[in-house]
Symmetry: C2
Subunit: 228 residues, 2 copies
DNA sequence: TAAATAGTGTCTATCAGACATTATCTG
DNA sequence: CAGATAATGTCTGATAGACACTATTTA
C-alpha cells in the first residue's frame, strides 16, 4: 500500500444549500459562524468529512445537518464541488455542495434562532467563503430542474393539493401557471397518486390530497410543466 | 487561523471520463495503472490535486490530463464527486469526476498504445476502484443532456456538416433521427452558424460546413432534438 | 444511372396555453 | 349570496415527427 503525505492533501468538507419557501419567497437556511475563520459571518451549514464516521459524502452531509439543524423529510442531492487555494483561509480546500429542499413546516420552530435564519435568496447577507456563489448555483439548478421534475414538490409536505403544488411551481419557476392546465399536465405525467383524503381547514372548498408515487427520488420528465 | 490535523483528511483526486465516438460506437479512454493500488487494472486518467500548482478542480483535471494524454479541443465539465472509506485501498477518498468529450481525430495516434486504449462503454474491462460506476454515470449524463444541448457536437471537430451532427446525435441518443427534421430543428435553435466552406473529400455531394456559435459552452435548449 | 447525401416542402396528430364553465365549499 | 378554489371542458396556434420530393455529387 502506497504511503500518502497527508500534508499535501486539501481540506475536504461538505456544505448544504437548504432551500424552502416561506411567505411566497424562496429562502435559504444560513447559520452564523461562531468560530474562525469567517467568525460572525453567515454561512451554509457544513463541516469536515469524518473518516471514521462517514460512509459516503451524502452520509457526511446528513450527519453534519443532523447535528446543526434537524429537518424531518429533508430531500438531499449532490450539487457540485468547489475547490481552490483561496476559498478558505486555512488553505487549499474542496467543498462538496449539496442541494436540500424541505417544507417550511418541517423546520422546528426552535431551529430558527439568533444564529440560524432563513434568508430570501434574492437578498443574501454577506456570506462566508464562496457560499454566495454556491447558493446562486443551487438556485440555478432548482429553477432549471424545476420545470422538468417533481423536485419542487419537495417544498410541500407528504400530502398536498394540486393547487398548493401549482403555487410552489410558480414560485420556483417565477412565472404564473394556469391551475387548470397545471392539473391536467401533472396528472398526465403520472407521478402523483390521490390519497383518498380531502384537505381540511382550507379557507374554501376542500380538495383531494395527493402524494408522490416515488417519494425518495426526484423523478425527471421529458416535457415541462410551465404555462405562462 | 485554525490548525488542521492533516491525518484526518481524506485523499482527494480528480478523474476524467473521456468519451469519444469511434466506429459508430461510444467509447471511453482508459489507461493501464502502472503502480499500486490496482496495478495492472484499467482506470480513468486521474491524479491528486496539487496544492501548489492547481487553482481549481477543473485546472487540476486539465493538468493531469495534459500529462497523461494531450487532446486538443477537449471539452470538460464537472460530473459529480464520489467519496467513501473503501473505494480506494489507501483510505477514505474523494474523487471529483469530470466528463470529457472529444473528437476521435483529435486524439494523436501515438496516444493510443499498450497502456492507453479506447473501450466501448457497453463492453468495459474490469476497472479499478469504482470507475465502472463513474463511467456509467457519465454516459447517463451524456444521454440525458444530449437531447437538450449541443454537448454531442463536441464529438465533432471545429466544423462539421449537419449530416455528421445528425449521426452523432443518433449515437448519443441511441435512436434514429430523420435528417430532414434534424436539420430544421437544429437550425431553428440558432446555435450553429455556417462557415461558408463546403465539405471536401466526402463520398457524395458536398455539404455546407457549420460551426458552434459559442464553442466554449455546452448550450442547453428548452426543447429536444430527437425524432424517431 | 445507381447510390447516397443535401436540402426543402408538406401533412397530421398532438399538445401547450388560453380561457370558459360548472361545482362545491366557507364566511 | 359573494368570493374563492375545485375540477372539467373547449378552442387554437404551434410543432414534432413522418414522409415525399428535388438537387447534386461520386462511383
Amino acid at each position: 500500500m502506497a504511503d500518502i503525505d497527508h500534508t499535501l492533501l486539501p481540506i475536504c468538507s461538505v456544505d448544504g444549500v437548504l432551500l424552502t419557501i416561506e411567505d411566497e419567497t424562496l429562502k435559504v437556511l444560513l447559520h452564523l459562524r461562531p468560530n474562525a475563520p469567517c467568525e460572525g459571518m453567515w454561512a451554509l451549514p457544513g463541516g469536515f468529512v469524518h473518516k471514521n464516521e462517514d460512509n459516503s459524502l451524502q452520509a457526511a452531509m446528513a450527519r453534519v445537518l443532523k447535528a446543526k439543524v434537524k429537518i424531518p423529510g429533508l430531500y438531499l442531492e449532490q450539487l457540485a464541488s468547489y475547490g481552490g487555494p483561496n476559498r478558505d483561509p486555512r488553505g487549499w480546500s474542496v467543498s462538496v455542495a449539496h442541494l436540500g429542499v424541505f417544507a417550511r413546516k418541517a423546520l422546528p420552530l426552535k431551529a430558527e434562532s439568533e444564529d440560524i435564519k432563513l434568508f430570501p435568496v434574492s437578498r443574501l447577507p454577506k456570506c462566508a467563503f464562496d457560499h454566495r456563489t454556491i447558493i446562486k448555483d443551487a438556485v440555478k439548478r432548482l429553477r432549471g430542474k424545476g420545470a422538468y421534475s417533481v423536485l419542487p414538490t419537495k417544498f410541500l409536505g407528504d400530502t398536498f393539493t394540486l393547487y398548493e403544488a401549482c403555487k410552489v411551481y410558480e414560485h420556483v419557476l417565477g412565472e404564473e401557471i394556469a391551475p387548470g392546465n397545471f392539473r391536467r399536465k401533472i396528472l398526465a405525467l403520472d407521478v402523483l397518486e390521490p390519497t383518498g383524503e380531502m384537505s381540511v381547514g382550507g379557507r374554501k372548498r376542500p380538495a383531494e390530497l395527493y402524494r408522490l408515487k416515488s417519494p425518495k427520488e426526484a423523478v425527471v420528465f421529458d416535457r415541462g410543466v410551465g404555462s405562462l
